[in-house]
Symmetry: C2
Subunit: 217 residues, 2 copies
DNA sequence: AGATAATTCAAACATTTGTTTGACACGTCA
DNA sequence: TGACGTGTCAAACAAATGTTTGAATTATCT
């Protein structure tokens, strides 16, 4: 079964990347265990032996997918941090909005979020990588915003709890999407809904933070 | 391999139930696909053929586990609804507290929550059952509380959004437990922490609801 | 006790699946 | 041109796994 002539050298060295893309899809759809290297290779247009040749085995491919995913997401969403000149209320809104954008990123690789979701219920070494490279930086950024809004130090006990209260409202629509869709079948997640959602969460959170504000000093 | 003599007739008719218990554990630990009927039967002290004999096949066993789980939870947590004589603020606190108790139920069947978690990332027919039998009733109860706090009708658009903001803070510690543990390794989930958490979420939510209150009429 | 149905058991079957193998194609460089 | 390294391919291998089977065991009822 020979492919057509064009794109010879081009596709040649791309097998590895196509495997990563296909693996990302399949792992996200089926999970590590249920995903088969046969399907991955088929979707990548590669031979069954390609995975073992390029990555060693299925598990090494899985870990490599996360590095690849993280790298691609960095290209897609370069900034998100550093806007310290804005008032903290605006910063919080920007944070929430950006987080929702990432979560519902329908772009060319919507499997990033799904893969992370799977790591939640069944953590592997990949989750340590994700937390260290992705979640902790975001979390610390949010802490700074929250601490400023509360008027306390970042190390204060109230900061992580209130941060969780904010983040939880965002990730909820990702984690519990299946339930939300069953409870409210008409709910959509287009850009307009996302903006409204960010608005709601910001309003709710800013008000929710108030009783935790440090006493004037 | 003969077992010892005592508990003959007792264990005999229990094979089916022991299979359900063991299946609940294994499905929760490994997921539907990765769970093997061999391990389930081994943990239940039954023969490999027991699953097919008592339930038909692995998938029917899986669905039966959810019915069994739901039934057991109803025995464990009978009430949770109906306390309309209390002020809505107290009702909200009771709801949040009860939800956290359920989520972190360490009792004789801590796999209920894990199983639900897996259904989130990979919904099957079981999720429809759960939503209809378990989640929707709880959700509607919360709607009534929220509507009363907001001073609006249950059908108002603000009600489901604000409800999600409340529920999300509770289920977050279940869904993102793996991340929370990595960010805050010292965090525990004993009874005392749970009470404090319920306190926090209630305080945050009651304040968060304020700007959404209907204008006086 | 004896017949009948229900249940359990060890073994085998058929399929799936990750991995390996050895041959083949292609480009590079001496 | 010829040797060599890289990448690809079809086929096969070995292990795991859901399911089936037919005999053995146990319970139930007359």
């Amino acid at each position: 079964m020979k492919l057509n002539v064009p794109a010879i050298a081009a596709e040649q060295a791309q097998t590895r990347q196509q495997l990563l893309e296909a693996a990302g899809e399949v792992f996200a759809e089926r999970g590590f265990r249920s995903a088969t290297v046969r399907e991955i290779c088929q979707r990548a247009g590669a031979n069954i032996a390609a995975v073992n040749y390029h990555f060693g085995d299925k598990e090494k491919l899985y870990l490599e997918v996360f590095r690849y995913s993280q790298q691609k997401e960095l290209e897609r969403f370069p900034q998100l941090r550093k806007s310290a000149d804005l008032p903290p209320e605006k910063q919080l809104h920007a944070f929430i909005s950006a987080l929702l954008q990432r979560i519902f990123n329908k772009g060319d690789a919507s499997w990033h979020g799904l893969l992370m979701l799977r790591e939640m219920t069944e953590p592997t070494a990949a989750l340590d990588f994700i937390v260290a490279e992705k979640i902790r930086p975001m979390s610390e950024h949010l802490w700074e915003i929250i601490a400023e809004l509360l008027g306390c130090r970042v190390e204060d006990d109230r900061v992580p709890r209130c941060s969780f209260s904010v983040v939880s409202q965002c990730v909820f629509y990702c984690h519990s999407r299946a339930v939300v869709e069953r409870l409210h079948p008409d709910q959509t997640f287009d850009q307009k809904s996302l903006d409204e959602l960010a608005e709601h969460i910001t309003k709710f959170s800013l008000a929710g933070l108030k009783p935790f504000r440090a006493v004037k000093k």
